[in-house]
């Protein structure tokens, strides 16, 4: 432990002894989020319970010029919630309550550590739910969702997290504890709330959020269509969107995953299909029926083998369980894997899937796919064995080539997982120096001394160096053992 005892003592006075994790063993467990490829042990972890505590911690860190790394449930996929430069990790999971449900205004005020699904579970009996549904929603936190501007299958129709945030109470990197926005949807001035969402902890921390609630739709229809080939399935996706139908979710799952999901979870997916589409429609009953009636022939036109419609809530839940827990069954497919998150314009989906198969063959590694086909957001998972010599490097090369292919088709380097540490060196592929410089200066407005999650989101690249001064870490990263 290389922090001065006085500083540790200050932290302990702010959050109490219960709120400080300082043992090497404890800190080790915080060295990574779900993207364990990136590891960085914090010098100390604090677990506050109030917004005021968070503000005091950040101010102390700013004064001592110590890095601050926010963390929710630690389920991110971009190395966002780990501490490559050591510092103080602030875990928000103990601030996990619903503070207020305001159904008349269709909104809820919640603490950032509240688990996403818990909010919908609490509001469903009143006929409302929180629409952003990342696959991690049974464990990811609202604060984390705000931080990465999380998506999920239903964002195809309903938008991503930022479209559902009315206001945020935040602690900025400058140490200010402020409310940005409130229940009133419009206000004069810049959209500070909108800018803060997706900030990946580099602008500050969320200490409370006012989020929009949606009314549970009148009808929901969930369909599973299976196809012999990935090509047929991706052509079907494009055809559905081109027909002017926006399903509430449109997910593609390939044969690797169908096998693994059936083994691990048993969701009733048809074994042996080359690809399946999980299609969900929701809204007024007549609208849902009409859209379903149009989708079935579109699937048939693209050689669908079987089209199954969930008959009740239990069947629907099981179909979704397979999709939502797919990330977890990856362990059954291979010992190691890269999960990529990229986007192409949806009209280019069939093309990128074909290119992906060619790239995969060229590098001699398998790619498994489960993703949000409806908005062109791919999640190719490159499978490899880290114990086989040379495979890590081939996997990395494949990863790079895949990303380039997506960009060449007019896509984006990340659809919904965010940038974090994982993609920050890729940002220059998508943005010019002037654009990155603008973002660096935007960051400085909220975090003048560069203490918030340093090394994340923006590349530490000379091109964006103007104005962005990465704070020198007072304490070097403490690798121990």
């Amino acid at each position: 432990m290389t922090f001065p005892p006085a500083f540790l003592g200050e932290l302990e006075r702010i959050v109490g002894a219960r709120g400080v994790v300082s043992s090497p063993e404890g800190r080790l467990t915080y060295e990574a989020d779900m993207h364990t490829f990136h590891k960085g042990i914090p010098d100390v972890v604090v677990l506050p319970e109030t917004a005021e505590q968070v503000a005091l911690i950040v101010r102390a860190c700013r004064r001592e010029h110590v890095a601050v790394v926010p963390r929710g449930s630690g389920t991110g996929l971009i190395g966002g919630a780990m501490a490559p430069h050591g510092g103080v990790m602030i875990g928000m999971n103990r601030m996990n309550r619903i503070l207020e449900l305001d159904l008349a205004n269709r909104c809820a005020t919640v603490q950032p550590g509240l688990i996403n699904l818990s909010l919908s579970q609490a509001t469903r009996e009143h006929g409302y739910y929180f629409a952003p549904d990342p696959s991690s929603q049974m464990v990811s936190s609202i604060g984390g969702n705000c931080s990465t501007n999380a998506g999920g299958p239903h964002c195809l129709k309903y938008g991503i997290t930022v479209n559902h945030v009315l206001g945020l109470q935040v602690v900025t990197g400058a140490g200010e504890l402020v409310w940005l926005g409130n229940k009133v949807q419009d206000r004069p001035g810049y959209d500070l709330t909108g800018v803060f969402v997706g900030g990946e902890g580099t602008l500050g921390l969320v200490t409370a959020a006012i989020v929009r609630l949606m009314h549970v739709p009148e009808a929901v229809k969930t369909m599973l269509a299976s196809f012999a080939t990935l090509d047929d399935a991706s052509e079907t996706v494009s055809a559905i969107i081109a027909a002017g139908i926006i399903p509430s979710a449109l997910e593609l799952i390939d044969d690797f995953f169908v096998r693994a999901i059936e083994e691990g979870i048993g969701a009733g997916y048809p074994k042996g299909a080359g690809a399946v589409l999980l299609i969900e429609l929701d809204g007024p009953r007549a609208e849902v029926e009409a859209q379903a009636a149009r989708i079935v022939p579109i699937c048939r036109d693209h050689a669908a083998l079987e089209i199954r419609i969930a008959q009740d809530e239990a069947e629907r839940a099981l179909l979704w369980k397979g999709r939502k827990e797919a990330a977890g069954v990856v362990g059954r497919l291979a010992s190691s894997w890269f999960l990529q998150d990229a986007v192409v314009p949806r009209s280019r989906l069939p093309q990128i899937m074909r290119e992906m198969q060619a790239i995969s063959a060229r590098h001699g590694l398998q790619i498994a796919n489960v993703f949000h086909a409806g908005d062109g957001n791919l999640h190719p998972i490159i499978l490899y064995d880290d114990r086989a010599p040379g495979e890590v490097d081939r996997a990395k090369a494949l990863n790079e080539e895949l990303l380039q292919a997506c960009l060449a088709l007019g896509g984006s380097v990340t659809g919904e997982h965010g940038v974090g540490l994982d993609k920050n060196q890729s940002l220059p592929l998508q943005f010019a120096a002037a654009d990155l410089n603008f973002m660096a200066r935007l960051r400085r407005v909220f975090d003048p001394d560069g203490i918030m999650n340093p090394g994340k989101l923006l590349p530490s690249h000379p091109a964006c160096g103007e104005g962005f001064r990465p704070g020198p870490s007072r304490i070097p990263a403490g690798a121990w053992v």
Partner: protein, 421 residues
């Protein structure tokens, strides 16, 4: 220790499985299901964190330390994480293997109450030692001394003693089950019946009811006097050598021609079904005969009279998570005419009993017990049932503490009550 083949900081023999550790993809889906994560809210007291520590040790990044041991000691061993895990990480086995290695090295968790643990390990699994203590306790209760002691709070300063005392229900008079209970009606087979170490003293009527129900289901019920402890307590505490000895002895107490070995205590059933993982020589075939009473009775068609009550069902961890038995007890209860079964929210969240955990970690156990009773209260049920003696004691105690007047019973007790009416 030097010269022995290693797996990082572990001895290779009986090390936690590296494949098992590597199956964890760090997704965190286990976190909200973990009782200690819910109560403590820190990563190292979550399954994901505990696996991370075990894996770090197996990869040689970390030694086996007292702090690590402490975090593993805080684990209830409820295996809710296994139910949640999409990757199939065998957390229970990893935990037990790691605890065994810590124990054999003499690495003990900082702050763990080893005195109480050792006391429990020396007394509870040995009916011969436990019997005289139970007789004394029976006398203590009947004499009115218990009421006096409780009202005056004499045990307040003896924490463990106080806890044990509080958990103990009113001990019944009367004996256990005869060695042979013949089948009634058409004979279906021969069933062995486990009497359990604590259950045979504290809830002997559950064993009698179980035998009666099995007999009505057409089984000759064999209840060997020689059976002692299944070894679960020692297994969970990482005492592998003692566990294997007890398991071998236990298996020897049963005839080889039994069709099924019936268990009405979830913790025991779970341990027995996993003998094949820890022992060779026929342990696997022994395990394959083990059934929970709910599995067996579901196959029969017992004549049941009506019971017009609202009942809620608590999933004992070692039934729901350890044996994947959830629907069988519920289906059985629904067969009782007039019975209204209300689902208990968080029914499979540990009540805090977890073997002797509630004696070792009363703070956490009390919090879990309190939360469990809150949930039970909210259902409005008049009876709560659970298929494990530890759960029954823990839930009873906390219902009392919270002033909730409710019957706490084993499902077989309800079934037996209305059998044949």
């Amino acid at each position: 220790m030097t010269g022995e083949p290693r797996l990082g900081a572990f001895d290779l023999k009986d090390a936690p499985s590296m494949d098992g550790l590597r199956a964890c993809v760090h997704c965190g889906i286990c976190l909200p299901q973990c009782p200690t994560y819910r109560v403590l809210g820190e990563e190292m007291d979550s399954p994901r964190g505990r696996i991370y520590l075990m894996r770090a040790a197996a990869e040689g990044r970390m030694d086996l330390t007292a702090t690590m041991a402490r975090h593993l000691d805080l684990c209830l061993g409820c295996r809710a994480c296994e139910s949640a895990c999409p990757s199939g990480v065998p957390f229970g086995h990893l935990l037990e293997a790691t605890r065994a290695q810590l124990a054999s090295r003499g690495v003990h968790g900082t702050g763990t109450d080893r005195t109480t643990l050792n006391l429990a390990l020396q007394w509870f699994p040995y009916p011969r030692r436990l019997a005289p203590m139970m007789r004394a306790l029976y006398a203590y209760q009947r004499s009115g001394l218990q009421a006096l002691v409780r009202s005056l709070g004499f045990l307040a300063s003896f924490r463990t003693l106080r806890n044990m005392e509080a958990l103990l229900p009113r001990l019944p008079a009367g004996n256990g089950v005869p060695e042979l209970t013949p089948a009634q009606g058409k004979r279906r087979g021969r069933a062995g019946l486990l009497t359990g170490c604590v259950q045979r003293f504290v809830y002997p009527e559950v064993n009698r009811d179980t035998a009666r129900l099995l007999s009505a289901a057409g089984y000759d019920v064999v209840t060997p006097r020689e059976q002692e402890c299944c070894g679960a307590l020692h297994l969970h505490a990482g005492q592998l050598t003692e566990f294997r000895q007890m398991a071998t002895k236990f298996m020897a107490a049963w005839e080889s021609d039994l069709d099924v070995i019936v268990v009405n205590a979830a913790g025991c059933g779970s341990a027995l079904k996993e003998y094949g993982h820890w022992l060779d020589d026929g342990a696997g075939s022994f395990s394959s005969k083990v059934r929970d009473i709910s599995e067996v009775l579901l196959e029969a068609d017992l004549p049941l009279g009506s019971l017009g009550e609202t009942v809620t069902y608590h999933d004992a961890c070692h039934l729901a998570h350890g044996q994947k038995i959830r629907s069988e007890p519920r289906q059985l209860l629904k067969r009782i005419p007039g019975l209204v079964l209300v689902e208990l929210p968080d029914s499979d969240l540990c009540c805090g009993s977890a073997g002797v955990y509630n004696l070792l970690e009363p703070g956490i156990a009390d919090e879990l017990g309190r939360r469990k009773v809150e949930r039970i209260r909210a259902t409005g049920a008049r009876i709560v049932v659970a298929g494990n003696p530890g759960c029954l004691m823990q839930i009873s105690r906390h219902c009392r503490a919270q002033g909730l007047e409710i019957e706490v019973a084993h499902p077989v007790s309800l079934l037996a009550r209305v059998l044949g009416r």
